[in-house]
C-alpha cells in the first residue's frame, strides 16, 4: 500500500479527511479488501490504546470491524408465509386482487417497487412517497456499497456559536431522559465525541463532591 493511501486512512480515522477525499477513499474501500483490513487495524490500535483494565480488545475485533464496514447487499423483499387458514383462498384472492386494481383504479406503483412499499405510499403525500421510493431504490441496489455519513459542516450545517458547555451538557443529559432509546444514544454519543462549544467558563458553581453511591 502506498504512503498517500496510508495517510488518507489515518486522516480518515482521525476524522480529518475532507468529504470529497473520504468519498473517493470509501469507493476504493469497496474494491480493496486489504485496505479494509488496514482501516480495521487502525481502529484496533485506537481501541487497544484506550482499552480499560476490564480487558483488552477482542482478538477478532479488526476482522469484525472490517466485516461491519462491508455493508452487505440487501435482498429483495421476502414475503412472510401466508397463514394456513388463508391458503385455500390466497390463490384466488391474488387473481381477484389484480382484477380489483383494474376495476377500482387503485394507485399503482411502478413495477420496480415492491408491492408492500407501494401500498404504504398509497395514502401518503407525494413528497413523502418520493422519499420512500428513493429509499427503496437504495435498499434494493444489489451492488455492495458503503457510504460514510456526510460531513454536516459541508452541508450548510449551522455554525457553532457559544453556549456554556457545562450548562449545555446538563441540558443534553436532562433531555436524554425523555428521548427514545435510539434518540438517547444519539444525543449521548454526540456529547462524548464532540466538543459542542468553545469553553467559556462554567455557569454553574463547581463542587468537590463525588457522585452519590
Amino acid at each position: 500500500m502506498t504512503d498517500p493511501i496510508q495517510e488518507q486512512l489515518s486522516a480518515f480515522h482521525d476524522g480529518e479527511l475532507a468529504t470529497a477525499e473520504a468519498e473517493l477513499l470509501l469507493k476504493r474501500l469497496q474494491r480493496d479488501p486489504q485496505l479494509r483490513g488496514t482501516i480495521g487495524r487502525y481502529a484496533l490500535i485506537g481501541e487497544a490504546l484506550r482499552a480499560t483494565e476490564a480487558g483488552g480488545p477482542s482478538r477478532n475485533f479488526a476482522e469484525q470491524i472490517s466485516q461491519a464496514i462491508e455493508q452487505e447487499a440487501i435482498p429483495k423483499r421476502i414475503w412472510r408465509p401466508v397463514a394456513s387458514w388463508l391458503k385455500p383462498v390466497a390463490g384466488g384472492a391474488i387473481a381477484a386482487g389484480v382484477a380489483a386494481i383494474a376495476l377500482v383504479s387503485l394507485r399503482i406503483a411502478p413495477l420496480d417497487k415492491p408491492a408492500a412499499v407501494a401500498a404504504v405510499e398509497a395514502d401518503v403525500p407525494a413528497p413523502a412517497a418520493e422519499v420512500a421510493a428513493a429509499r427503496v431504490a437504495e435498499n434494493t441496489d444489489p451492488a455492495p456499497r458503503y457510504t460514510v455519513p456526510m460531513n454536516n459542516k459541508s452541508r450548510n450545517a449551522p455554525p457553532i456559536q457559544i453556549i456554556n458547555d457545562a450548562r449545555l451538557a446538563n441540558f443534553v443529559m436532562a433531555h436524554s431522559e425523555y428521548s427514545s432509546p435510539l434518540g438517547q444514544r444519539n444525543v449521548l454519543t454526540g456529547l462524548l465525541v464532540e466538543d459542542p462549544t468553545a469553553e467559556q467558563g462554567d455557569a454553574q458553581p463547581p463542587t468537590a463532591e463525588p457522585p452519590k453511591k
Partner: protein
C-alpha cells in the same frame, strides 16, 4: 371473416356482479396484507425497544458521522429492574457517560470535569419507550421489514422515513433473534445518512460485573458540576407556551428544575418518536450569544425571549430546535396577540 367479441368479455349482469365480488375480495386481501406489514414493522420496533431497555448487553461499535469515525463501547445492565449503563468513547478524549438509577454522570477527562444530572423517578425500564402506534404514521412512513444480513447474522431492516424536514428517520438492521439493532443509520428527510452506528462486537451476557459499569479513570482533582434540587412537575405550559411548534410535536411534560442555582423551566415536546426539550431560564449571562449549536447529530438553539434565555435541545434537525425556541412566548403575551 369478421371477428366477434370473445365470449368471456361480453357484458352480462351475472358477470358484472362476479367482477364486483372479485374486486371486493381483492381489496380486502390487499388491505389485510398491508395491515399485516404495518403491524410487523411496529412489532419489530417494539421488540427492539424492549431489547434495548431490558436486556444485558456489552458491545463495541463504530460511530460514523460528520466525517469522523469513533470507536465506542456500551455496557447495559438490568438487574432486579435497576438499569445501569456505561457509554465510553474508546478514541480521543476518552469521555464516558454513566447512567445509574438516580443520576446521569458525564466524565470529561479532557476537561477534568464531571457533570452530574439527577434522573427522574419514572419507570426505569420502559419509561422512555415510544408508543409505535397509529399516531406515528402522521409523521413517519414505516416500511415493511426486509430481510438482510449484518455481521453474518440474519436481520430485519426496518425503515422509518420522516414525512417532512422537521425530524430524522432511521434505517435499522435488527437481529432476527434478539431484535437488537446491529446497525443503524440516522437519515435526513432526503434519505441521506447523517450518522451510522455499526456494532463490531455485541454480547448479551446473563450477568454483568460491577467493574464494567465504573468509570475507567481516576477522578481525583476533577471538578464536579451537579444540581441537587429535585425537579417539580408543574401544570402544562404554566406561564409559558410554544405558540407554533413544528407539525406533529406536542407538549408532553413541563418541569421546574435547578441548573447552576437558577430555576429552569423544562418543557418536553414529542412527535411520538423524536423529542425536543425547551429550557427557559430567567438568568442571562453576558458571555453567551444566542444561536445554534450542534452536539453530534443533535442540535440546540438558544435565543432570548422577554429577558429570559430559551434553549431548545433535541435529536432533530437544526430548523426544528430553532422553530421551537423562537416560538416560545409568555402565555399572556401570546393570548393578547
Amino acid at each position: 371473416m369478421r371477428l366477434g367479441t370473445p365470449q368471456l368479455l361480453r357484458y352480462s349482469p351475472q358477470r358484472a356482479k362476479a367482477a364486483v365480488c372479485v374486486a371486493l375480495v381483492g381489496c380486502a386481501f390487499i388491505s389485510a396484507v398491508r395491515a399485516a406489514d404495518d403491524e410487523d414493522a411496529h412489532a419489530w420496533l417494539e421488540r427492539m425497544t424492549r431489547s434495548l431497555a431490558t436486556r444485558n448487553y456489552d458491545g463495541r461499535f463504530l460511530r460514523l458521522g460528520n466525517g469522523r469515525t469513533e470507536n465506542m463501547r456500551i455496557v447495559h445492565r438490568v438487574a432486579a429492574g435497576v438499569v445501569t449503563e456505561r457509554l465510553v468513547s474508546l478514541d480521543g478524549n476518552g469521555r464516558e457517560v454513566i447512567r445509574t438509577p438516580s443520576e446521569v454522570m458525564c466524565y470529561l477527562p479532557d476537561r477534568r470535569t464531571v457533570v452530574v444530572e439527577p434522573r427522574t423517578d419514572r419507570d426505569p425500564l420502559l419509561g422512555t419507550v415510544p408508543k409505535y402506534n397509529a399516531g406515528l404514521k402522521a409523521n413517519y412512513i414505516i416500511a415493511a421489514p426486509l430481510s438482510a444480513r449484518v455481521m453474518g447474522r440474519q436481520a430485519r431492516l426496518v425503515t422509518v422515513a420522516p414525512r417532512d424536514e422537521f425530524r430524522y428517520g432511521y434505517r435499522l438492521w435488527l437481529d432476527q433473534e434478539s431484535a437488537m439493532p446491529l446497525k443503524s443509520e440516522l437519515c435526513d428527510a432526503q434519505g441521506n445518512a447523517i450518522e451510522q452506528i455499526v456494532f463490531a462486537d455485541l454480547q448479551l451476557p446473563a450477568t454483568i460485573a460491577d467493574e464494567l459499569l465504573r468509570p475507567s479513570m481516576s477522578t481525583e482533582g476533577f471538578r464536579w458540576i451537579r444540581q441537587e434540587t429535585p425537579r417539580v412537575v408543574v401544570p402544562q405550559g404554566a406561564g409559558w407556551i410554544v405558540a407554533n411548534p413544528p407539525q406533529g410535536f406536542r407538549l408532553t411534560i413541563t418541569r421546574i428544575q435547578t441548573v447552576g442555582g437558577a430555576s429552569v423551566r423544562h418543557m418536553v415536546f414529542s412527535d411520538g418518536l423524536a423529542s425536543v426539550s425547551v429550557f427557559i431560564e430567567s438568568r442571562m449571562t453576558d458571555n453567551e450569544k444566542p444561536g445554534p449549536v450542534r452536539v453530534g447529530t443533535a442540535h440546540a438553539y438558544s435565543t432570548e425571549v422577554q429577558d429570559h434565555r430559551v434553549t431548545a435541545v433535541g435529536e432533530v434537525p437544526a430548523n426544528t430546535v430553532r422553530a421551537l425556541a423562537t416560538s416560545v412566548a409568555r402565555e399572556s403575551t401570546a393570548a393578547s396577540r
